[in-house]
Symmetry: C2
Subunit: 231 residues, 2 copies
DNA sequence: CGGTTCATGTCGCAC
DNA sequence: GTGCGACGTGAACCG
C-alpha cells in the first residue's frame, strides 16, 4: 500500500465524467492497482477512485501541463473496462509505502440471512399455530424468503427485509400473484416482515391485503441458544 | 487527516455486529472524527469504518487486553447513533498527520439529470411529432420524469433511467395507473427510456404495453450545443 | 460469467 | 430534519 499526500487535480472518464479541481488530498494506491482519492471529510466513499483490477502508469507531463504546474501525471486504467482516472500531481507533500499482507476479512452478525434463520426457527412469532413449510421457496421469478402455514392451514408467503420499503412490497406482490396461480397452494396470503417498515410501504401493503410485522432482532436473538457466535 | 499503519483488531457494534481479527491495516482518521479501516485490497469500501460525526477516544487497555498484547485502545463513538467502533492496537508501524483543508468537491456529468435535460430538449428522439408537456410532472405518488404528447396527440409518460431495471417498470406502471384515472389526460401511454435496458425489464414492460427506448447519451450530447461544460 | 438481491449502503435533493 | 430515489452504486451469493 502506497500513501501519497499531494496537491492534485483528478479527472474520471468512464460510465460518466467527473472532475476534481486542484486541492490537497490523500492518494491511496493498493496492491491490486486500485486507487482511492480521499479528502479530509465526507464519509468512507472516496471523492474519486478506480476499482481493481487496474494498472497505474506514471508519466512526465506534457509541455502544456508542465506549464500549468503539473510535476507528474498518473493514469489509472481499469483492466476490464475503459474507465480511466487521470491524476495531475502538482506537489507531493508526503509519501510512504507499507506491506500489509492479506487481510483475514470481516465477520458479520445481524444481516438479513441471520434474521431469516431466526424467524424460520421462531415462526410462531407471527402468530399462534404457524408452522414453517420452507425457507427460500423457489419460484420462477426468484425465491420467496419463507413459506409457512397459518393456524387455519392457509399458505403464507413471507418477505423479509431489514428495512421495509416499497420495493419489498412490490416484490412480495409479484410472488403472491405467481403463487396464487398454483391451485395446490392458493389461496396464499402475504406477510411483510422487517425490523423497520416505512409508513408508505405499510399503506401499499395493506392496500394489497398484505400484513406487516415489525421484528425485534435482539429479542429474537435472545430467544435463540446460539446467540454468542461472535464473541 | 491522521494516518496510522497498525497491527490491530476491530469490533463494530451498531445496526449489526462485525469483527476483524488481528492483522496489519491502515487506520485513517479524518478531521470530522470519522475513521476508516483499510486493507491492501478490496475496493474503495473500507473493511470497517465509522461515519461522521464521531469522536475518537484513546485509552490505555484494561489489564486483560494488555496481556493479550494491546498497547492502545481506540473507541470511535458516533455522535448521532449508538454505533461504536473499537480498535485494539497491538503495534504501530507508522504514523503521520496532514492538514488537507476543505475540498472544493466533485463535478459530475452524465447522471440521470443530464440525461433528462437532453431528452426533454430532444424529445423528437422518441419519434416524429413528439412534443414536450413538461419535465418532473408532479403526481400524488411522485414526479413523472417527462410528460409528452405524441404525433396523434396522445399523452405519454416517460420514465428515465441510466440503467433500465424491473424497478423502473414498476415505478412507471404505478404512474400510468394513476395518470389514467385523470380523464383530462387519459389515455396515457408509457415509454421506458434508458441507456441500457435489462432483458426481463423489457419483457415486463412490453407485457404491460409499455414501450422501451434505448438512449445514446454521447450522441444526444453531441447534438446539444453546450457539450463542453466540463473541459 | 451473468443474474439477483442485500447493504452499517452513501449521497444529494426537495419538502 | 426527513423522505425518497439515484448511484461510476459495490459486494455476496447462486446458477
Amino acid at each position: 500500500m502506497r500513501l501519497v499526500i499531494a496537491r492534485c487535480s483528478v479527472d474520471y472518464v468512464g460510465r460518466l465524467k467527473a472532475h476534481l479541481p486542484l486541492a490537497t488530498r490523500l492518494l491511496l494506491v493498493k496492491a491490486d492497482g486500485s486507487v482511492l482519492v480521499h479528502s479530509d471529510g465526507g464519509s468512507y466513499k472516496p471523492l474519486n477512485w478506480m476499482s481493481p483490477p487496474a494498472t497505474l502508469r506514471v508519466a512526465s507531463p506534457e509541455d502544456v501541463d508542465l506549464e500549468l504546474g503539473v510535476m507528474e501525471q498518473w493514469t489509472v486504467q481499469s483492466a476490464k473496462t475503459d474507465d480511466r482516472l487521470i491524476i495531475n500531481i502538482h506537489e507531493k507533500l508526503d509519501e510512504s509505502s507499507h506491506d500489509l499482507g492479506v487481510d483475514p476479512g470481516l465477520i458479520k452478525d445481524g444481516v438479513e440471512a441471520d434474521l431469516q434463520r431466526l424467524l424460520a426457527e421462531q415462526i410462531e412469532t407471527l402468530g399462534t399455530g404457524y408452522s414453517l413449510i420452507r425457507r427460500e421457496y423457489f419460484t420462477a421469478i426468484g425465491p420467496v424468503d419463507i413459506l409457512a402455514r397459518d393456524a387455519e392451514g392457509a399458505t403464507v408467503a413471507i418477505e423479509l427485509k431489514r428495512r421495509g420499503d416499497i420495493d419489498g412490497v412490490e416484490q412480495l406482490t409479484r410472488y403472491l400473484e405467481l403463487l396464487n396461480r398454483d391451485p395446490l397452494l392458493a389461496p396464499v396470503r402475504g406477510i411483510f416482515a422487517a425490523q423497520q417498515i416505512k409508513p408508505q410501504a405499510k399503506v401499499l401493503a395493506y392496500d394489497r391485503g398484505i400484513d406487516c410485522v415489525t421484528l425485534d432482532y435482539d429479542a429474537m436473538r435472545g430467544v435463540d441458544d446460539s446467540e454468542s457466535r461472535l464473541f
